[in-house]
Point group: C2
Chain length 320, copies 2
Amino acid sequence: MELKQIYAPIQNDLDKVKDTIKSISRIEYKWLSGQLSYIVSETGKGIRPALTLLTGKLYHYDLNYLIPMAVSVELMHTATLVHDDTIDKALTRRSQATINSMWGDEIAILMGDFLFAKAGEFVADTQTPRVIKLFSYTLGIISSGEIGQFRGAYNIKQNREDYFRRIYRKTGSLFSLSTQSGAILGKAPEESVAITKEYADNLGIAFQIVDDILDFTSTEEALGKPVGSDLIQGTLTLPAILIIERNPQDNPVKRFFESRDNKDAVEAIDTAKNPEIIKECYKIAGEYCEKACRNLKSLPQNISRQALYDLAEFVISQGT
Amino acid sequence: MELKQIYAPIQNDLDKVKDTIKSISRIEYKWLSGQLSYIVSETGKGIRPALTLLTGKLYHYDLNYLIPMAVSVELMHTATLVHDDTIDKALTRRSQATINSMWGDEIAILMGDFLFAKAGEFVADTQTPRVIKLFSYTLGIISSGEIGQFRGAYNIKQNREDYFRRIYRKTGSLFSLSTQSGAILGKAPEESVAITKEYADNLGIAFQIVDDILDFTSTEEALGKPVGSDLIQGTLTLPAILIIERNPQDNPVKRFFESRDNKDAVEAIDTAKNPEIIKECYKIAGEYCEKACRNLKSLPQNISRQALYDLAEFVISQGT
């Protein structure tokens, strides 16, 4: 199933979210409009705002609150990418030159801050202190998690559990804000808020595992950045961790982390592409998707709930 | 009058604000505690949280809301300093090595983000969407203003009005958030909120003018950074603008901006220290302080109001 079909119940409103984001660059701060329109011109899958709208639509679908919330999660996501690219010295993202490579680190730092500010303004428009607090809490989880990742670069002593915790912070936490805010603003009962949290925590982890698989198995063209970027940056992802698990004493990942040599990087990337490794990674991602969905049946039976099931399926079908 | 005397009505509560900020490093994220306790160990004058508490105390002094708000403005201030230092490649601030110089730009970017997040959590604790929105709006003003400043570096074609607008964004806006939030949370009538805004907008500009004077007239020891840092970074401040006004065609600031030569920098800095220039700058700062105070008489006559007058006086007495 294509994302377009899954998003059908909320597509019109998701378009409004994207239009609202684009309008930021038109209405304010003429000296930012060049960068802003560049940043918002290339949009990703929109999975986070879609999650907010879909969970909101499970209950009381009030777009006065849900659109600003969906705008807010997408802007927070964009802001974190701008800062991450600056930290990683990344040249391209989604086949487009990064802000830091176009305008320098200084502008990228400030542009990220500006996007956080805009995200904060939109979340304030929800008039709901609980989701506002969750929004800031989530940003704290993400940024402190990135510090942990940066500090752990080229550290071979990280196991699966470390990895799952790390990608929860990186991706699961913002998925979780996206669904919980939708549910809270939709006036869902507390048990349902908790179910949408469980769904998003686990879906986010599954999504990140698949993203990390694709970093090895996809092409530079499709990725919009070099294959194996994570490993080259010293970030251990699941395929690399499985390589280490299989032969802890001597393996190409360890050799690369020790030598930082290009030849060793190529070998490590090749080994990560091993079909057994990749199959195992997909299996683990699939388990997180199952965990994500296990309590969805308690939510109201409607097209939004079905979309949540379909989205989980979509996530693990990527690249297969 | 010393700050200690001015702060007397709220000193105990300001200490609570500082303790709360220090406690962040103790309670969470052990991998951040080193950096966090370093950042919060050296505190500045605390003028922003003091403004929140003093304006709050004019009316209904509810510390359940005012303490988180005061913590929030101070954390936002700290976060912007961490990012500014990274952008300016500053080595020291308040005689202490900067985060970027200690741990690198990557950690500084993320640590700034983390502090924004914490600031956001505290402002959410005010449970008041209006001040939360103002908080985010202010961050947008500050970060977009910094982009303008960065872009305008070494641009000789900036006049007083450009400068006043720029320092409003840099400093006035956060002073303004500090007092307005205090007044709003103190349930002040709307006219009083507007008066505290007028006070802070202008006090912030006066404060920044004096700060910019001291950047030339003070010593490296007292500043905790080299004398003339702003000019060397290509930032035009009031003393330099007055030099340009007096002789637009040929002046040492213009020569330095063209040559970027150290000899020319020394001459420009020397010229900025000219007593007439400095006197004129203080006069302008004084006018902003008068403007700040002109409607304070309409506020309730109590020790907090007196402290606002005294603070304005303190601001322009610095360095004289």
